[in-house]
Symmetry: D2
Subunit: 339 residues, 4 copies
């Protein structure tokens, strides 16, 4: 059975996911597209034989839409997800689930009222082969209990609109999600310290930042976020346990020896780095939705947790590096908790 | 438009490609299956909602089949490919195209009579990301003219049915094809020398073998074929040019440090190593077939060349390591030649 | 001219340096040995044709001793160094220079009174080929200004006598020295945070520890100290600048592929890891002493700085991870400062 | 006891070894120097407080010379070594031992007449840490019996005086020696094939060359010799056994990430690559000579074997790649044989 997907938001990421659902992933079809820019919606829809609809609500409620994909502007996510929950339809929401903890809570409540999961949040790292291997190694017990994680998240550069708070909200949020999952543990505090800033940045921006997290079981995470590192897109992660460590591989690329140098390539951006992860993310989502309608990837709870943890990191940044406790509600049973 | 594929041969590799065409690659559907074992054909067909047909000929001529995939026993390939050519339908044939040079020639003649390409041969390495990067590096001129290629093709072990000649026919054939493509050059001679044999093999088998090839432009290739190497499935390739070299990467896997050792995994088998290459091979084949019907991957000529080159290698093996000239006809214009 | 060295302290490290001065480094001879255990002193001295003397003072003042090597118990270092300064003889003192900042200051004053350098402190990492390459890369400007350094210092295990404060005093002190030199910058604050402790340690010990340092120019350093990591002796260092990074290499060791694993060895201990650095350290010391008597390696000021920085780290550890400002006096002109 | 060494030949390599014996290695002193260019001999001798003597014979027979180091022009080696044997003095002879098999045989006979070893030949690779680790791995049995060795020996470029035969005589000779030792096996045939030549070479030179060797036990060795590879000095060696392989490490150098590239350095020349091996070679030679006068490194037999094997390789090159059997006499008992 083909899952008929309606897409809300036809910008760059929306178009990329439409291509993915159409050309890469089997079992899905994009049947409807909407966008604030209706001309764009029409163009994008026409390319894949979908209809263009004027609003997210109409799209969500269309009988030709089995599941909703939200790739619109962040502040609109909550509304679209709530609409999908009201319609009882599965919804894949690009991160963030919502821009405030309150809106995340409203979604959690609506989903709990529905009684089973409908929401998946677009944290693609859980679908990356390297992180999955790391999780297997950790879960196998080969390293003993995890004690520390060292990470780096580096981009060559960012546009002027990027703010200091986005280092947590847009960038570190990926590590926040993947480490919660990797460690099967919860982050309970955050601290952000600011090294000397690079001269290769806009004046308003604190870059790089070093983020320190502590988990419920006492694991300490340090994360370098450096969004104007110039040299490339580079993701590093090393988990140290009681008996050993495991390290995320760099992507496999050919080695070249010329002119007294052995070189391998560093990637340009996240799209190249996580192409396979995105493909797997949607392949598994479509398979789960198509089978019993309940997604198996990052949940609304994971979206909520990411939001409250990034909130804590931003508060630390704004309070000169103070340690900020994460203000997280108890986890409901729907999401594996006891509340 | 969905390409409706009929599959001849429902063994392990046939089933894997049926899964690939059904679950992994978009734009295709398997509509018919045949196999000598009709029960098996029926079971496999039922799984994907295809019809089971009694013979390859019926399958090829079915109006519900747009393109044919041949994954049957090697000696039957030529007949099925010729049938497809007679029906004017695109045909993807797993290697070998045919088991004799004569049969390959009959296919070439039939395809030339048809006037455009219909045949693609299943050499998947051309679709591997690492080889493609190597080809880009070589084609860029960064290394100067290629002079030598050092390769290794290692399997942990093989079944008793594996013969010394299969080292060329079944194993080295992958390097033979990919190196012709990588270098954009033709192999003109072959020589096989036999080191001391490993004790981990069946008595009848010469293993390992070292194969030496020379190309038309004078590039020398050495290839270690070691099919009972015990330690894993390991593919190495290094091209040395006038100014530098490029080397195929090992697959990216997490590193682990425990017990005084830094370790990464070596793969078990070719299926894991070339999963992505197989997916890309079929994705591109379906896209090409679905667009204008003419495939862009390895041609019948490439299948013929691989057969005559492996023939030369086998003759060298059987004549105590003599240098054997490849007996290759001039390349027809349909395949980029001048004949 | 042969430099005649008198050695105070004939324990394990003293004996190793005696061997080094006798068998590895040219231009030196060990002419006198003393130790609290006079029998041991006599045995060790006899092995290399040196005299055994009853006290450090007699050894220092012997006319057959041109330079003094202090490898005795840490709390006695200051006295021996001050004696050598009083005698106007070059002295190589294993770390620590002294166990208190006050004793370090007395040494600095005595050396300044002498008017030129006589003291070298045994921080061997500055002589390691990898760190020297890193320093060249940083100094070349290829990375832009340094912004962050990520380090790890891991031992397989430590004896029961090892205390939580020794993580800074005995272990991190090597990074503290080498990073001050690598960055040509001063450390101004220290903070120690304690992850969940490994179960593979004595009850009294906080292990691992994460140490955070800030330098005068704002570089942020994070250092994992993990002295019961089980898996091996492992030193990591990565300096991130505005345009790129440089990373300390792992020692070169043969790769082995067996049983589905690609493995390289992780070292057992610091002696194997830094053998070449120790050899170079003494080779350069002997060459400098033999030429004009003034050492070129880590100075008494570096010894003082290491002591006050480790003091700050220990205070942070004892005050639950507070950020502690390093209480460092202005640097005198003799040591490149302005005081 | 200091070993007093007389040096015959004060050219570049002679001066480098004089520096090594004087500044790097303990237990030796250079007491006499001779050279065809007597002015040069006098200058070099003066630098280290040695006497300059007019001829090799006088130097060898001087009562102030305990051992002789031959670093003169290759064709003079045999005479100097025979003189040392006549004088009953240990002699270290840079490769080649002699330029003809006949001269090597005369040396072997003279040494056998003496009754114990006096000669060591300057094959420094046996003292390289990486090769020594490989030998340990092979000897441990972890790989099973060795079956194949893949090697490359690459130089950035060579002077115009370098001839095609020197690819074997001067370049491959290092692999020939180190592989005989690594495998504890004898080379029985040689074959040289010539790929398309690089355009970066003098017209008279066949470069690169691929050399194939077979050992008595059937191990097959392939060796790429490429002396104008442009990109750097690069030594590769991989030994494949029945259960696994071991690979020589590249030298440890810092990694740098800048401008979308991860890079490590490739070396410039053999001096940098094998500095430590040379130091160890002379350290062990002096230690052995100083202890009981009998060297433990490569013997006159090894020098003879290298000569007859390179002769076979050159004959193969001159006969268009024919397989040439090595014409080696039975090994005398003095060298571990039975003749």
């Amino acid at each position: 059975m083909t899952v008929r997907v309606g897409v809300i938001g036809a910008g760059m990421i929306g178009q990329d996911h439409i291509r993915r659902l159409t050309e890469v992933v089997t079992g899905a079809a994009v049947t409807a597209v909407t966008d604030l820019d209706q001309t764009r919606a029409a163009e994008v829809a026409a390319r894949v034989g979908a209809m263009a609809l004027p609003t997210g609500a109409e799209l969500t409620n269309s009988p030709d839409v089995d599941a909703v994909l939200v790739t619109s502007w962040g502040p609109t996510h909550a509304e679209h997800v709530l609409n999908a929950l009201a319609a009882g339809k599965p919804v894949f929401c690009e991160k963030p689930l919502a821009t405030t903890a309150e809106d995340c809570m409203r979604i959690l409540e609506a989903e709990r009222a529905h009684g089973r999961r409908l929401v998946q949040v677009g944290f693609m790292r859980r679908f990356d082969a390297g992180y999955r291997q790391m999780k297997q190694v950790i879960a196998s017990g080969a390293l003993g209990a995890p004690l520390m994680v060292h990470c780096a998240h580096r981009n060559p550069d960012v546009p002027e609109s990027y703010t200091s708070a986005m280092a947590a909200q847009d960038t570190a949020v990926h590590e926040i999600d993947v480490l919660r999952w990797l460690l099967d543990d919860e982050i309970v505090s955050a601290q952000v310290i600011t090294p000397r800033a690079t001269s290769h940045r806009f004046e308003h921006l604190k870059d790089p930042q070093i983020m320190l997290f502590e988990t419920a079981s006492g694991v300490r995470i340090d994360l370098e976020v450096f969004v104007n590192c110039q040299y490339g897109y580079d993701i590093q992660c090393e988990t140290v346990g009681e008996k050993g460590l495991t390290r995320l591989p760099d992507p496999a690329t050919v080695a070249i020896r010329t002119a007294r140098r052995h070189t391998t390539a560093v990637m340009d951006d996240w799209k190249a780095r996580f192409t396979d992860a995105f493909d797997t993310e949607f392949r598994e989502w479509v398979a789960a939705i198509g089978t019993d309608g309940e997604p198996t990837g990052p949940s609304a709870w994971d979206g909520y947790a990411a939001t409250v943890i990034t909130d804590a990191a931003v508060r630390s940044l704004e309070s000169d590096g103070a340690v900020v406790t994460v203000d997280m509600k108890p986890r409901p049973t729907l999401y594996g908790g006891t509340a």
